[in-house]
Amino acid sequence: MAEFFQYALSGVTMGSIYAAVAVGFNLIYGTTGILNFAQGEFVMLGGMIAVSLAAFMPLPLAVAAAMLIVALCGGALEILFFRRLRSHSALHMIVITIGLSIVVREAALHVWDESVRSLPYFTGNECSSVHLAGAALSPQVFWVLGTVGLAVLVLHTFFRYSLAGKAMRACASNYEAAMLVGINTANVRTLAFSVSAGLGALAGCVISPIGMTQYDMGTDLAIKGFAAAILGGLGNPMAGVAGGLLVGLAESYSVKFLPAAYKDATAFAILLLVLFVRPHGLFGRRQGSAVREA
């Protein structure tokens, strides 16, 4: 029983990381309709910058600074590359975000290097653990879950009550109509990119003690976060969290029954199944033609 529960906690650990990435994905997708393959690079950059800054300043300040820098980068990318591309097809968007992700990754390799870095554990150290019903997990997982939860809560409030948030929701539901009622849609998109990049950077900081930070971590995280977002239902941050946790749990329980070498293959097989059977995700609304043809 304790073993069974330990798998669950292990799944939650990984799942919380995927969820953190998926929230950022959904934020951009929900507002702009762009699936940002470079989201994983925001996470990497956040971790890298925070680790570099932590040498000069206290940890909370370093994390905040990293978030700010990456948020500015995210906004700048939108202005530089996406603002003028509004009319292009999904194909072009996918290609360009993939290109961005590669360039950012390779730039990170040349700015930093190939070695791994990590932030210190926020509470406790490498050995400390929290025991629950005979199983255990690192206290850092609570930091990740807490951060993700808080982010979703703040986003929810922001979307619901602030003017900028309402503008973003308007863009998401009908771009042209939003433009007609006088919303500066271009700025809203830039805002979405900034916020999402900042969130990604924050995720990169809180997961750094668990999985460490290195230049090529972004792609793997992006793919898993992507899977989580689709599993939950694209465009909905809350569903992304659920999706992330589900992917994590599926992976960890697959280890119990199958050789661990096929762990990722299992996760992707489940994803394909969901895509083929229920492409709008487990918690998403059926949107008909936006997702698939008849």
Binding site: H88, A90, V95, I98, G99, L100, A261, Y262
Partner: protein
Amino acid sequence: MRPRPLVPVLAAALAVVALQVAVTAAGREYYLTQTIMAAYYAVVALGLCLVMGYAGQISLGHAAFFSLGGYTSAVLTTADLTPLARSGWGGPLLRLHLLQARAGLYGGETIGANPWAAFGGALLLTFAVALLVGYPALRLKGHYLAMATLGFGLIVYRLLLGTNLTGAADGITGVPPWRLGFGLEISGDGAQRIANYYVAWGLVLFTILLLTHIVHSRAGRAFRALHGGETAANSMGINTAAYKLRAFVLSALLAAAAGSMLTHYSGGIGPSEASAMKSVRYVALVAAGGMANLWGVLVVSATLNFLSLRGCFGSYDDALFGALLIAIVSLAPEGPLQPLTAQGRRLWSRLAGHRVMTTPEGPAP
């Protein structure tokens, strides 16, 4: 009136011959090594061009088809099938030349599958897999299709990496030469290089010929209609799903054929051929060539792969491909060669005494 596909293909064939004569005359035949490898990768890009440029569908899993072909050939030809050959089945199989004996590099002799048989097996397997994946996946749109093909590619990569039969991380080495007859063989043997060059570029030209034919046929018109608007195409009575699936399967088969042949040429294959980065590279090449521009894709992919395989980009290899993706899609989404090709076409039309074409074949905006 469009230029007949045969004429540019003949011109290209002349160019291929001229290139070989030029490097041989210059005493720099070693350039052909990378030219051969680049040709096989170009076939994959051309196949993907049909899917992306003409059918308007994205595939982030083409490296998986390439490696399905390569690995099937490698596994079947290097596996020690001596027990099978000794069993009751051995006689007929050997007589049909489905099995063949080969000498090991370090002595000894083993019996493995005939490369022809392995090639057939590779195509069959790829056909089945492409159909199985393509059927449900091509019903998805845009981002969902991208994710589905990416997921498929990753599954193949993981399976290759996690299975001992496929050599796990080390891949498979010691793939025997593929004797085509008439003294030709696909192998890395230096003496066979010129022959291999013509085999590889023969495949490229065959691919071009096949694809131009398709693009200019009824299917091609269906693709263009599909690209313009799927619902409209559907209501015109075009079975869009079937056309998309055919394009997908054909391009998968081309990738597998290239993979199988390159594996014989290199003498082995590793799991990096199936990685997501490789799939992304093929997409990059198609985008850089101008999506719906077979000649553009051919020129760009052959040149870039040639330079990349020669190590011209050093540690900036991946970075260059990424930067290329961004630059071309944001600055010249029709491909950097589009203005050049348009000019060429105008010139051709003038020479042939025809009016300038008014409807370019480029992709829908």
